[in-house]
Symmetry: C2
Subunit: 580 residues, 2 copies
């Protein structure tokens, strides 16, 4: 299952890029350490997979109420894993502090500041959730095991130290003690993934219970209606406080889920970077500029406001009566169709701009970027699974209530929009940075402005007007532009390049508006499934066609990826925005 | 889901290897074609994933007897996908023939001859299975739709052309018309994966039905016992022929399953190679030498014979009576424990030999090798899931019949053996080839034999005695050996290297014996699960702890990967054997 999907690694870098400065260091040290690089990788990744697989089975056993597996055992396992990670992080931080005078290589692409910022934000909410859980434990302390109190405390400590660790060390490229480092990092990756799976499972059970209670009103009474109850067998002492805590917890879960997965992706990049040789070359420092994106952000904020309204109405109306449920579903579908149409159009426009302005892509090695692209395509597959399920259900159903017809365009658009958006994001993050270094720009002004090249004062398309004399060794990818410039200097006929239908700065402005709009729309579309507005459950059609159990299993497996997709796409679009 | 597991790509190649000959061709053409490399990759991979996801849902719908989805629809979909692939392959082969005078780059590592050989062998069995299916269709022709007759015929044609295609084009590195090629190749990859999933599903249903019939004898009567029946609603005209055909089909399915997955991995490597720049450098031509592996192959053949006996006894005894079933299970576990212990010991010995003979690993880019390593670790995860499930079940069960105790060491050993074997294979395939080219060897004889380097006439460890003068530009990874040789020449103290506890050729012989033994053992362990000897079903313990439905779902999802692991490990070990 691994690989396969996702944009694979570029195969061209060695040939097409000037070779990076020769640094035999890491390779030698790999040969000198007791276990070579590749084997250390396999050693640690197999350890991590075993931890993950065993943990998943524990989760499954708890979820299906397996004989002999209680919440107590599950939480104890997670606590032990977190404590192990805590110890390792303390050791790593301590050693780094002791060796702080050594100059160590860093991956400038990993752990961007905004990424660490959002991890911190979500971590704060996770700690608040931890406080809620401690309160819940105190309320039910008569009948809950100690593990349910120890777990949230450990988790809060773990969160604090992990955020500190990620701020200080997410960019590290570890070169020494590789095997031990690898084990620690991969242990951290899979511990976070297990915590993610645990939160997802809790959230899914909650949603499923709410759904079962609702479903009856839509007229599907013939489906088994057993609530999957894990609530403790005693009463909470201040009842109203307990109810408030339990209600509140489920509004905080979506943020915890995002925190865990973000942390594990950052740790995974750290793992991929172990023993890597650095290519040098910092990426141009991208800042957040908010000028000139009024249209995009206004539209996006409008979408966000509309989403909040639609979700509120949906949650109030769904499950009240059959008519109200159907109206809520129809409203949601119509709203989502309109939004997805706009997003698809924006994405297509962005791709069209890129197609007109042909440029070769940056193919350099960059584990963080590769992981981002793989995660985009991989997590989109979860949502495609749901959409294809809906399409198949509509095609096969025997009776189709009117509101289910909106489901068809919605599903088709959900597939198409993700397809387009992924293409847009992948092309954007692989574009070579627009601004050239200072010295090249000066050279351009001196040598090109004497010739016939137009628009020399525009920094945006410096590459297109670059003189062949400017860089004696032909830089790959700019060859065409150089030939073009040379042809112009010789007075020869210009090659048939498509006319630029948008000038440099206008093009940038349009792209930035598109990105801002898509960013806000993705945040908008993250909200409904994360907070319980799930038409895949509520419309009931798929459940009739596939059967209740199989469809619920499909939704519970695919939905976490679908929810993660929106947040991850928003994060990627934020990065694209800063880069344009 | 993508990435994460598996040995990730080497991050060192650009820095540590001499840069390959600069070939700006592919990059230029990527810039000139309408869609850049990365975007074309994402375009096609997303298309492929959508085809796959939609097909999987169709399979699921059929498997759960969804309303309105019959076998007819499923087979029609698969037939259309195969016809599309057929058309594309014909176009590709025709175009290649028209341009046969052009010199095109090839990936020497892709599509090894033995791999194409085994694909051919399995394809022949697949075509025989097709004939069986046509016979079955004729027998039941009264009540079967035309799709059930068209499908096996199309599949046979598809198999024939695909094997021809793989023989001729598996090594191609496609440089022109990239977008169309990418779509065709990825369509082929996922069509084969869907055919694989279809075969796996048929096989799983068959196994599950057999299991349900058996389970009652073991005393677990309280589990739902509905047979999942897809048999046609009329009688077959020559009854005995029909029974023979149906019996025979299930003995051929395992081979078809292997054919489909092998074909799709070869096509996937072809896809990864599109637009790649070639690193030059053919791998040394490895031949199959059978001298000096008597011990390993004798032990391995013994294991194979014992397996056949155990499987026969198991299949005869299981499900006859409770006592017979328990005896069969105990016999199987004891046999498997002994075999896994031997295999683990052999793997550890191999790793120990590598650790003593320190050498840097070949880190060059090689999509075929990377895919192999990822598949090994990925498919092992399927089997780890099952083993951890057994361990958890034993830990949590309330009553434990005596034979279930054998399950614990069996599961632990199954995890450990795969862990060790993967390390051995990954290190083996990444070792730099032992034999140096002729001219380097001559140089060595001339320059080194005058000095103090020992054992110059042994070609096996030429690298270890290579003089520094022999290669003016220090080849990475041999630095140590050169320093060592230089130190010896200066008469200085030798560095504290561990004493070689096995000489060069003896080391090779031991490694070759280990590999031959492991190869035959993996074939042996492929047989039991592929032909219906599945203690995970039959021992009943996991089903009591997890519940029947959840455990059956876990087994049906994980078992195909577990079966694939054995065949894939055998293939990798064959490659290792040829290389040593």
């Amino acid at each position: 299952m691994s690989e396969g999907r996702g944009a694979p690694d570029s195969a061209q870098d060695p040939a097409s890029y000037p070779p990076p400065p020769r640094s035999p260091g890491p390779r030698r040290s790999a040969a000198r350490s007791s276990v070579p690089q590749k084997v250390a990788e396999a050693l640690s990744s197999q350890y991590g997979l075993n931890v993950f697989v065993a943990g998943l089975l524990f989760l499954l056993a708890w979820a299906v109420h397996a004989a002999g597996v209680g919440k107590r055992h599950l939480l104890s396992l997670l606590t032990v894993l977190m404590l192990l990670q805590l110890l390792w992080m303390l050791w790593y931080v301590g050693r780094s502090y002791a060796q702080r005078r050594l100059i160590r290589p860093k991956d400038a692409h990993a752990g961007a500041r905004w990424l660490r910022g959002s991890v911190t934000l979500f971590a704060v909410i996770t700690i608040i959730l931890g406080c809620f859980k401690v309160g819940y434990f105190i309320g039910f302390s008569e009948c809950l095991s100690a593990a349910e109190g120890v777990f949230p405390v450990t988790h809060a400590l773990h969160t604090l130290l992990q955020v500190y660790f990620l701020w200080g060390h997410a960019k590290d490229i570890i070169q020494s003690f590789k095997t031990l480092e690898r084990f620690g990092v991969i242990h951290s990756v899979f511990t976070n993934l297990l915590l993610w799976a645990n939160s997802v499972l809790n959230e899914s059970k909650h949603q499923l219970n709410e759904h079962k209670a609702r479903l009856i009103t839509l007229g599907f009474r013939n489906i088994t209606m057993e609530l999957d109850d894990h609530s403790p067998p005693c009463n909470c002492s201040p009842t109203r406080l307990c109810t408030a805590l339990m209600q509140g917890m489920y509004y905080l879960y979506p943020f915890t889920i995002e925190y865990q997965i973000l942390a594990s992706t950052m740790l995974f990049v750290l793992w991929k970077n172990i023993g890597r040789s650095v290519d040098g070359g910092r990426p141009p420092r991208a800042g957040l500029r908010l000028r000139g994106v009024l249209a995009g952000s206004a539209l996006g904020l409008g979408a966000l406001a509309a989403t909040l309204g639609v979700v509120a109405v949906y949650l109030v109306h769904i499950g009240r009566s059959k008519a109200k449920s159907e109206a809520a579903l129809a409203m949601f579908y119509l709203y989502a169709i309109a939004l997805l149409l706009l997003m698809g159009a924006a994405g297509l426009l962005g791709i069209r701009i890129y197609r007109v302005d042909e440029k070769s892509l940056d193919q350099s090695k960059n584990p963080a970027r590769k992981l981002d692209a793989d995660l985009l395509v991989g997590s989109a597959s979860g949502s495609w699974l749901l959409s294809w399920g809906s399409i198949l259900a509509i095609a096969c159903a025997e009776t189709r209530p009117p509101y289910t017809w909106y489901n068809l365009p919605y599903s088709v658009l959900a597939i198409a929009e993700k397809y387009i958006q992924n293409l847009f994001i992948i092309e954007s993050v692989h574009r070579e940075p627009e601004g050239l270094p200072e010295d090249v720009c000066t050279l351009r002004v001196v040598t090109v402005c004497n010739g016939a090249a137009p628009a020399c004062s525009r920094p945006g398309d410096a590459g297109a007007a670059l003189d062949a004399k400017g860089s004696p060794r032909p830089q790959p990818g700019r060859g065409e532009a150089q030939q073009e410039a040379a042809r112009r200097e010789r007075g020869g006929p210009s090659s048939a390049r498509p006319a630029q239908f948008l000038e440099g700065s206008a093009k940038k402005r349009v792209l930035r508006n598109i990105t801002a709009f898509l960013f806000l729309c993705n945040i908008s579309l993250w909200i409904p499934p994360a907070f319980g507005c799930r038409p895949e459950y509520d419309n009931g059609l798929e459940e009739v066609v596939f059967g209740f159990e199989p469809w619920i299993i499909v939704v519970n497996l695919a939905m976490p990826f679908s929810v993660f997709y929106r947040m991850h796409a928003a994060a990627s679009l934020f990065e694209v925005y800063c880069k344009i």
